[in-house]
Symmetry: C2
Subunit: 322 residues, 2 copies
């Protein structure tokens, strides 16, 4: 309990001591949802890894020997990562064949590692198991990714490079998006993902990237759609580009790129033509750079917590235990 | 319910739709604390304005005709702002004379306006009542302020101007603090407060300020100390200063100023010599400018929600109603 926290986290818990004293754990009282946990032996609290809707719970029943429903938790009992990965793979292939939960369309062939508690982005922590990225929303598993805000400083002001997603994509076809974005997957660290996606999605030279990419925090939010739950965290980077650079796409997932003024970007975001789950990143950019401020957005104090949701509340086995 | 929200807030609620579906209202189940509310007529929910400890509740009993305890809420019944202000003034003078709750030492002679719900920083919304700023923590009333991060870009890297608070101050004597900080009080808007405090605390010329002050968001946190509860929101500004400018103090509340490197600032913050309730502002600065990042702080996704706490959860009369 807090033993592995950095000094900075302990400090931040300190100036929120009242909050922690009274922090609730919503899933315990979230009607209709079941927590997916991995038992850790008798004396250790279970690791909470996901949230399940009644439909998902029902469709897991054929694999019941591996799952035990107890105290609103569905305990996933296999003891080792290989066995867990094998069972999830079997479940997902079965559902995909039956055309359940859009899996036939969303399947990515991209492995995603599930890690315990606050170690999900630690390279040295072994994964609890691995599954296809497309399945993470079905089990309410936390997802982590990287987004890059590409911008140009012109004499007339700041402009943003936006991506227009290909109309052929299953998820958010034809929607606007940030310049570059991608999920963390097996063996790819945050910086590797940022470099790889910037090269594949927007043809940004990696030497330019390494020199100019600026870390600028992270956003977290909790979205639900027909495709499942999205308790997502995106690591955010800013990238200043020169006026003569023009991004181009290499992987067929992008229709094109547009350079827009901050005002135009704001209108696109408000028009619902921007991918909903990428909005937190661009809104955070606009706040950090002073374009959304207390003068033009009186609800600024409400907006910021919505870009930085305390998702750990949903994934702790007891109150505020991190 | 949401009728007065801006498009941006509605969007941000949209990508947190799961969170809102299951948002709890902690005060309803916070043992030992009583919510302070102002009734709004039969069909309208009460406005929740504060949280009271058992000691405060007990000491309010002589004024019982004006307060009704019902359903874990203490309803403050007077119908008009003048009457409410008058009663609170009477209570506070009485407590101050009796030496209760440190009021003899913390009294500021600075009026603070209490406004309903999300209108607390709106100039056009009339206050529910007014009281001395020193009393806001006693009743768990939300406080709003302005902080300015002053920094200098040197060839060797970025440096920060920190304030060292006077050893004579009642609150946080001798602690380090951000360059400028001050609470919003009656008749002072966010920008007026930033200008006034920058001039009084650090002698920054107001024309330089108007040209160079950059809005950079806000932080929110919930701290408790012997002085009471601090559900605080600070509007954050960055101010780049030239290498030859040196801040100086005009109001006797500051011992001096030091220009430190980012690394030195980080050490001071970690050493607990930095005013606890000002830490969120400097940590937010260090994150936005990339000095605290996912590479040197693996718990970055935990840190950010602690700088942007959803305080509205504690001050809504029903679930997620804003």
């Amino acid at each position: 309990m807090g033993r592995n926290n950095s000094k900075i986290i302990e400090l931040a818990k300190g100036f929120n001591n009242f909050y922690f004293k009274h922090l609730q754990t919503p899933p315990a009282t979230t009607p209709g949802y079941t927590r997916l946990t991995i038992p850790q032996g008798n004396s250790t609290p279970h690791v909470v890894i996901g949230l399940l809707t009644p439909q998902i719970l029902e469709n897991l029943s054929p694999w019941q020997p591996h799952f035990i429903l107890r105290n609103k938790n569905l305990e996933f009992t296999p003891k080792n990562p290989e066995k867990r990965t094998e069972i999830f793979h079997e479940i997902l292939l079965d559902w995909k064949e039956k055309g359940l939960f859009h899996l036939d369309k969303t399947w990515r062939g991209e492995n995603f590692e599930i890690k315990p508690g606050s170690h999900y982005t630690s390279d040295s922590t072994p994964p609890l198991f691995t599954l296809d990225r497309s399945a993470t929303p079905l089990f309410g598993l936390r997802q982590f990714g990287v987004h890059v805000n590409g911008f140009v400083r012109k004499p007339s002001g700041l402009s943003l490079w936006l991506q227009k997603r290909s109309g052929n994509r299953e998820m958010w076809p034809g929607f606007f998006d940030n310049l570059v974005g991608g999920g963390l997957s097996t063996k790819n660290t945050i910086i590797t993902t940022a470099t790889k996606e910037s090269s594949e999605e927007a043809s940004i030279p990696s030497d330019y990237l390494m020199e100019n990419l600026k870390p600028a925090g992270a956003v977290s939010f909790f979205y639900e759609s027909n495709y499942g739950l999205f308790p997502n965290t995106e690591f955010v980077f800013d990238l200043e580009l020169s006026e003569d650079f023009e991004p181009s796409n290499n992987d067929g997932e992008v229709e094109g790129f547009v350079l827009v003024t901050v005002e135009e970007a704001m209108e696109i975001v408000k028009s619902s033509k921007f991918k909903t789950t990428s909005c937190p990143v661009i809104l955070d950019f606009l706040v950090r750079h002073g374009f959304i401020n207390s003068f033009n957005e009186p609800q600024l104090p409400q907006l910021l917590p919505l870009l930085h949701m305390p998702l750990d509340m949903f994934y702790t086995s007891n109150h505020g235990n991190y």
